[in-house]
């Protein structure tokens, strides 16, 4: 009896040793096999490929992760996908609801049980890459994906392979909208006022309403540093330390001082609160404007109805010059799990789901901002206020990729310090020191 037990236990231990994300070897090989399958005939375009590309895969079983709101549309797309390839035998393609915010965590926890094709935001790319959980985009698709999607989205998903040092495209761009922008109540803030931060704050104060921008959360408060010129630019040679672009320190300090001055001048109007509060604020009538994320736009729009205004972030006046606020901006991608049992089909499906047609559907039905350049030019997208605001802000934004974990806390502290009661906006030395501390905290040099 004891012996049986011991063997059983030992067996389980070995089984667990093989599980997990560790199997890095086959990550690239599965990608490779699907590349090879493309062969010479493969010239994919428009989401459709030659059936030969499926290779010998049959009785295909796949799992797709989509956020809740997108599940029914994804199911519809998959039905269409199956119809496109009548000679391929699909056993079952499931769509499971999984919030994008947790996609990487869930995937890394147990890649064998995770989805084969999944949607994730750009900031999880490094994590997924480090865990070797992503199967790179098939060579057959690279050309088409690169040509049809906005350059920034493709660039952000291109990482250097740790071994070969070559650029590898790791995922299929899905959206170009994961950021924040200005929403305002047209009754309070006029379209003209919405162009400058000063104008917004004044209009809000005059109407005794609040303006919400979260200064304690690095995702939003990095706007201060970015606008000041301290823009991140990937990693240093060591692949760990955050790199900043060169910037003019005097100007950066002046910009931060301008922000702090407005915070002080409009104390009580400028509230540092979670953007999840913004829709409530509009509903209660306490809010005039706010910096809100694209994921909340439906609620904001519902609340304000015809008074809903959305535009890119405003400008701020620094030494008489209007400076555009620079924000953090991310994208969403469709990734293929490196552990998938049907790599060829998974890639073909991801390619289809990221295609122009699917992006068009998502823009119209879910309001997701497309990364596909053709879809961005369509009438529908052009006429959608929110999508236009997002698109405009994306021109003034830093991509949310290659960001070190130390970044968020340090940027949050920067915002909090400036928002603090005792902070003196005119104190040049203190502001300079604050900026230096922030940057050295991000670079973890403390």
């Amino acid at each position: 009896m004891k012996k049986v037990l011991a063997i059983l236990l030992a067996g389980m231990m070995t089984a667990t040793a093989f599980a997990g994300c560790g199997g890095s070897g086959d990550a690239s090989s599965s990608g490779g096999s699907s590349n090879a399958s493309g062969g010479s005939s493969a010239k994919a375009s428009g989401g459709k490929v030659d059936e030969a590309m499926f290779g010998d895969e049959t009785d295909i079983t796949l799992k797709v992760w989509a956020p809740d709101k997108g599940v029914s549309l994804a199911k519809q797309h998959i039905e269409e996908f199956k119809k496109m390839y009548p000679n391929i035998k699909f056993k079952k393609i499931d769509v499971v609801a999984q919030g994008e915010g947790e996609a990487a965590t869930q995937l890394v926890n147990d890649p064998n049980k995770a989805a084969d094709v999944f949607s994730f935001p750009s900031d999880q790319l490094n994590k997924l890459d480090a865990a070797k959980c992503l199967s790179p985009v098939s060579k057959a698709f690279i050309e088409d994906v690169t040509a049809t999607n906005a350059e920034s989205t493709v660039k952000a998903a291109t990482l250097k392979d740790s071994k070969s040092k070559e650029d590898v495209l790791y995922a299929y761009p899905e959206t170009n909208d994961n950021g924040y922008y200005l929403v305002y109540d047209k009754k309070v803030v006029s379209d003209d006022n919405a162009k400058t931060l000063e104008g917004i704050l004044k209009a809000c104060k005059d109407a005794k309403k609040e303006f919400v921008m979260d200064c304690g959360n690095g995702f939003y408060s990095c706007t201060f540093a970015f606008t000041a010129g301290a823009v991140i630019d990937g990693f240093e040679e060591d692949n760990e330390t955050q790199k900043f672009k060169e910037y003019d320190e005097d100007e950066a300090v002046d910009t931060l001082m301008a922000f702090a001055k407005l915070m002080k001048e409009y104390k009580g109007t400028w509230k540092s609160q979670d953007p999840a509060q913004i829709a409530s604020g509009f509903k209660n009538g306490t809010l005039g404007a706010g910096v809100d994320g694209s994921w909340n736009s439906v609620a904001d729009k519902e609340t304000l109805g015809n008074d809903f205004g959305a535009t890119k972030l405003p400008t701020i006046n620094v030494n008489g010059k209007d400076k555009q606020l620079i924000s953090m901006f991310g994208y969403k991608y469709l990734g293929v799990n490196a552990k998938t049992k049907f790599p060829r089909t998974a890639h073909i499906l991801a390619y289809y789901l990221a295609s122009e047609k699917c992006q068009q559907d998502r823009a119209e039905k879910l309001g997701w901002g497309p990364s596909n350049t053709k879809v961005s030019e369509t009438e529908f997208v052009k006429n959608d206020v929110t999508l236009q605001a997002i698109a405009a802000q994306s021109q003034n934004a830093v991509a949310q990729v290659n960001i070190q974990g130390t970044f968020w806390q340090a940027m949050g502290t920067l915002g909090n310090e400036m928002m603090k009661d005792g902070w003196k906006p005119d104190d040049k030395a203190a502001t300079k020191k604050l900026l230096e501390t922030t940057i050295s905290d991000v670079r973890d040099e403390g």
Binding site: M12, A19, V96, E102, Q106, N109, A276, A279, W295, V298
Partner: protein, 287 residues
């Protein structure tokens, strides 16, 4: 300074009551907020006042009927899941805890002391240290993302928590066992017919603690369930409602859900309350 005893007493009592009232207010306010705002009709997420302007049952109705929401938020299902897991793990772990305690208290066998020490030491490791290992063991048995896995995790190690009930059994005179043995009862009969009827407080205590566990556990359930929303328990389900994706539409339902979770535990507690205190203190007399 103040001579009169009465005046001194009044002053000190007032002070004490003021302090207690403040502490009580602080302690009660989250619950009051939860309850009040679970009936709030207006607004989306939080509002900057305490008393809602508009009271409604809509949040509760929406929560249980799932009207106007996303398909994967299914609170009734989660509630049922948790209830089933709680009942099963409660029954299994109660029996196993009591059986272990009884045998350690009454039977004499080799390595008894050593086993008790090992149990004690194992109990000192924080539970989440083994969670990843547990996940992969369950995975090897193809049990992840199932409710069975939760029942196994919650109840199989329960026997290690024998200390308090063993202490209680130790206080029951051995003479009773001996008398029963003379009358022809075996150990099994003694346990069920003599000891258990006399140990109501400790049985109740064990039932309560093992029933509450599944309702409160978050980390383990989260790891085991992964993306299978249909098998979520209330703890992870409620957390899912507060993620970016859902918070706008579900915050008020989340508050309502938090109130509902308290219901089964409260009912069980009220019914068994009078034994509870007795059980905790009785076990501590002799360890």
């Amino acid at each position: 300074m103040i001579k009169s005893y009465k005046a001194r007493r009044i002053i000190s009592n007032t002070l004490i009551y003021i302090i207690l009232a403040i502490m009580c207010l602080i302690w009660v306010s989250p619950f009051a907020y939860l309850l009040l705002h679970s009936f709030r009709g207006e607004g989306y997420v939080t509002v900057n006042y305490l008393i809602p302007h508009e009271f409604t049952f809509k949040n509760y109705i929406d929560l249980f009927l799932g009207t106007g929401g996303d398909a994967s938020i299914n609170f009734p299902r989660w509630f049922l899941n948790t209830l089933v897991v709680a009942i099963f793990s409660c029954v299994i772990s109660t029996i196993s805890v009591l059986a272990v305690s009884y045998s350690l208290s009454r039977l004499r066998f080799g390595a008894r002391k050593k086993l008790m020490n090992v149990g004690m030491i194992l109990g000192m490791f924080p539970g989440f240290m083994t969670m990843i290992a547990m996940y992969y063991l369950l995975d090897a048995m193809h049990l992840t993302r199932t409710l069975v896995a939760l029942v196994i995790c919650y109840s199989c190690g329960a026997g290690l928590g024998f200390q308090i009930s063993k202490g209680f059994f130790d206080t029951i005179p051995r003479a009773l066992d001996e008398a029963a043995t003379i009358d022809g009862a075996n150990k099994n009969q003694i346990f069920w017919k003599i000891i258990l009827p006399m140990s109501k407080p400790i049985v109740v205590y064990t039932v309560l603690t093992s029933f509450i566990g599944p309702w409160c556990d978050f980390i383990l359930a989260k790891i085991i369930m992964g993306d299978d929303r249909a098998n979520y328990t209330v703890a992870i389900g409620l957390q899912a409602m507060t993620t970016n994706e859902f918070i706008q539409a579900y915050y008020k339902q989340y508050l309502a859900g938090s109130v509902c979770v308290a219901v089964p535990i409260t009912i069980l507690f009220l019914r068994m309350q009078k034994y509870y205190v007795e059980g905790v203190t009785a076990g501590g007399v002799k360890g």
